[in-house]
Subunit: 339 residues, 4 copies
């Protein structure tokens, strides 16, 4: 159960999966590596989160799609995903300046398994944790990213872990959040890394009243360069086409909007979806599959599920976050619902 469900909250009409997590999609695994060292000006509060598709993504890439709500972000590997419609590595999430070392780690990870690979498209997404962490010291190393990959399992820790360690959203401490939905025979899961929004943007989950929520409302953080961003990764075992997965991502953006996500001018709001069921084995000349046409009720259900699960995953990131003092003692309040 994710933190949102543990808090007794529900949202929407579509049932959640047993874990309330992206790992409800069979075979999907998540791992973290957390870096939490030092204090003051050189405090490090950052990390890496790995989302690993089932099977061998390089040998049999997953159908994948993308939507970018605002593109002020440093995502690595998205153009190939968008244009060719395939995901061929795990996905790593980290801080803004660590995406390239994480991409190197995905090269290493893939070359270890496929020593003859000459072209590899690592996918890394990021938010900027520079308000809590001395991001410019570039503390993330290749080993840290490999550790997150190795740690991948079915239990998804939420809150201040992995890439979520140093995140802030709506003035509250944020982190990693996850959620899932079951639509007919299919499962859809979401993992969110929310790092956006001012306190006044926030639309809290009902029935939590807007006033008096949380342990206190953060004073508006001074808007800093590169602040803001939201990463949402969706997985499903429905055999969706790349174009459909891109459209699924747009519905995830609707769910984010319902939490108050503003898509500010300095924000990198990236949504990536992949299917574990539609695979394109390398060197296959043909692939037989079942498709879900655009007018089917199932696709409509998956679209609504993407919005619901994204909204829930963002709330869950806030509810799972715990107090954390970062750079120069900055300590954003945590959000809790009164019951």
């Amino acid at each position: 159960m994710n933190a949102f469900r543990r808090a007794g909250l529900t949202l929407g009409r579509i049932p959640a999966g047993p874990r309330g997590a992206i790992t409800d999609v069979p075979g999907v695994r998540v791992g973290h590596c957390t870096l939490c060292e030092g204090e003051g000006e050189r405090a490090i509060r950052t990390g890496i989160t790995a989302i690993v598709p089932p099977g061998d993504p390089y040998a049999a890439p997953c159908a994948a799609g993308v939507f970018v709500l605002h593109g002020h972000g440093k995502a690595v590997g998205l153009w190939q995903v968008q244009d060719v419609g395939e995901l061929e590595t795990p996905i790593l999430l980290t801080n803004t300046l660590a995406v390239y070392v994480c991409a190197e780690a995905l090269l290493t990870w893939t070359l270890t398994r496929h020593p003859k690979a000459r072209s590899i498209n690592p996918v890394v997404l990021e938010c900027n944790d520079g308000r809590l962490s001395a991001i410019e010291l570039r503390p993330v190393r290749l080993e840290h990213a490999l550790r997150a990959l190795e740690a991948a399992g079915e239990e998804v820790a939420e809150g201040c872990v992995g890439a979520g360690t140093g995140m802030i959203a709506f003035g509250y401490k944020s982190g990693i959040g996850t959620a899932s939905r079951v639509v007919g025979p299919f499962t859809l899961g979401v993992l969110a890394l929310p790092n956006m929004g001012r306190p006044e943007d926030f639309v809290p989950p009902s029935p939590a009243p807007p006033q008096g929520v949380g342990t206190g409302v953060a004073a508006p953080s001074p808007s800093s360069e590169g602040g803001g961003s939201l990463i949402v990764v969706l997985a499903t075992d429905a055999p969706l086409l790349p174009g459909q997965l891109g459209r699924l991502c747009r519905r995830a953006a609707l769910g984010a909007a319902r939490t108050g996500a503003p898509a500010d001018t300095g924000s990198g709001d990236f949504f990536l979806a992949f299917s574990t069921a539609l695979r394109f084995p390398r060197d296959a000349e043909r692939v037989s599959t079942e498709l879900i046409p655009d007018r089917s009720r199932l696709l409509g259900g998956l679209y609504r599920a993407a919005a619901e699960a994204t909204q829930e995953a963002i709330y869950s990131a806030l509810l799972a976050a715990t107090p954390l003092a970062g750079r120069e003692g900055t300590s954003p309040p945590v959000f809790r619902v009164n019951r």
Copy 2:
């Protein structure tokens, strides 16, 4: 004042313009032509709404941009707007099968003013009013569209007028809605034509409680082919570039999401924004202008204003709608807030 403000509601932190309407943007005018005839199977409940930019849009096209949240729609003229970044005619809104006759009307309107024009890009947007209106009879004529253009003025009638006549949203009677915001020296206005969403999708405006609202909640309408769609037109006197206007449209989609707009599989959710201040006079070899860079606080304010005004305009369309019996006596309930 739009219906939303007249109902005593407010939304967001950015001040509205004096009319609470898209016509708060200087020079922008709106006109309607309403077709309301017959009963039973052949009842006509449709119309045309015209949005006219100031000056001569053919002689001096407006910078313009587009975002399409879901593209199951019959919009005319959008590709040129999107790719070249210019709007060179008024914008007409109507029903799904009347877009082409409306485009013909814009040809006539432009050729009357520019008899030597050989290339004209009319822009027409639509929603499907086939649940209340015998759309397949194709009752809209060129004269109707010209009448909407001629009727254009600064007062914006909302609710069941013009293109809004036969619309339904969230199971309630819908129609035309409008709103505006003032950001520093600039005004941003929105006109919305909401025709999407099931009752259970609806997120009503606070403080109106979700339960007990309205004169009654419509039973879920059976989802019909082509049902659903949302059109949002934004105008501003800020000198935004085409790319910025496209990004402004994405924020309008965030505002729509906050009302519960689901972007269903059969939906055409089209957002179009134009600037009255950045014009590209035909045959000009150079244009001198002031631009607003992407990092400026003003642009951030305009982005938030687009979300707020869109959310408000959709609510205003519902609040302005009045009871109307359409095809085969179908009569959706109207939404009202209890105060």
Copy 3:
């Protein structure tokens, strides 16, 4: 055999189909309606060309994709094709100001076959024949478009027929051109409507030498507003996905470039591809199919075939064109190769 092959020319390494025409794709049919009336200032030299997919495109839409090299064009229906990835009507080609009446004709055509249809997405593409034809008189009527649809058959007339009647390319009389290629078990066909380029842009087919070709080289036409544009429609019986069909269109643009197509600032260069083999029956909840993965050699072959066939179809349009005197006696020279 198309005019290009009849002239003894060949191009590329991939074999052509038996007709050298888009109708080599089984079930695809083409029809024309030509309007050639009057002289002088009011001369009409225009028409409509219909491309009809096999079967019932409304009952079982074809997978489809789009690429727009330059978007200064008035295409109708493309956004839905691009975003949803489906073609649900025949495709009509005509002049710039006749697209809307042709769209009306496709509504009529579809409603005749599906009287309960409430949402129809007609697809119409255009070039501007205003230099040879009194385009502003808007002589095309709904019946003309229906006649082109009814005339559709397997033989494809090229040159000054249908939408090609009044076209000019590279200063030469242009018209309709077609070509095909056979790639493994699949056929790919192209129909082109070239109306772009100045004489000095032209890259003639080898071995025709650049100098001394044709019956004479047109003096550069004064660049007129709305002049220029290129429409290319591709059909294939390979089960390509919408995204792959969009990428196929980009390769068609490469073939166009090799004839010298400049994509001028006033040009509408639209490429649309559809598959007759991947269909999405309306109301189907699932579709079983074979897909061709992106890395397959077959797809690479189809990409090259798209470039070759487009280049050939453009040349064939020029070679099939016959002398025609239009508006105010304008009579562009015809291009012929010396053997």
Copy 4:
């Protein structure tokens, strides 16, 4: 003078700048770092090429745009360039697996100049030199990339230098090529890294006849995974908008097509253009500028110039390349024109 002009060739009708190089655009500089070590299976034949905009690109980002003809490539930083329309670092070109270490170098380069930067969007483009170089050994280090940046000057070495060291195009040894055009008061420059195409795709420059060219025609290289790709960078001192720069890139693709570039299924064909004249100083709330409207003849000239200069730069890369034996002794022939 570039290798193309030194060979006595000309192309198109628009005059070249004095150097025939991208550095004809005032202030643009180019530098290389070449890695050429070892023999046999572990031979390294790779490098980095830096393109440095004038002034401080981080303090005052350049307007920029993108076109991707086929997206099977690992470009870093393109989404932000595409969506926000700004380039804020130099551009590095390198091999497929070295993009991330080059991105790290751009972080270092920028942090050295702006120690308080927290968000930096490095731009790195790549082709795969794995046929000549032991790419999987990942020999490129951060220092190499910094060396290319430091070496940047006005003279542009072409052929087997920098990122061009290990490239092959059309079966010939390829490398770095450059070209320029002067359009009215403006200059447009191109730097190309061609690594695509089979021998039979090649369209050699006229008047060089197709037969008997070069020192020999390579036997078709077995198509290898990741083989193929084409990078084209355009610079101009015309104040083009981001959208116009993206459209400029599409014309560069037309020029590439005229050399025979096939955009194969495994190809990453990326085009990026930036303006040295339209800058968006960080923290500026307003920017005054002159724009060039879309219909202006100047823009049309710049579009044609982009096609011409790209075609020439690709030819120049081939003509400048010198014999080089790579991995396992592979030694592609060089292309020369007979005069």
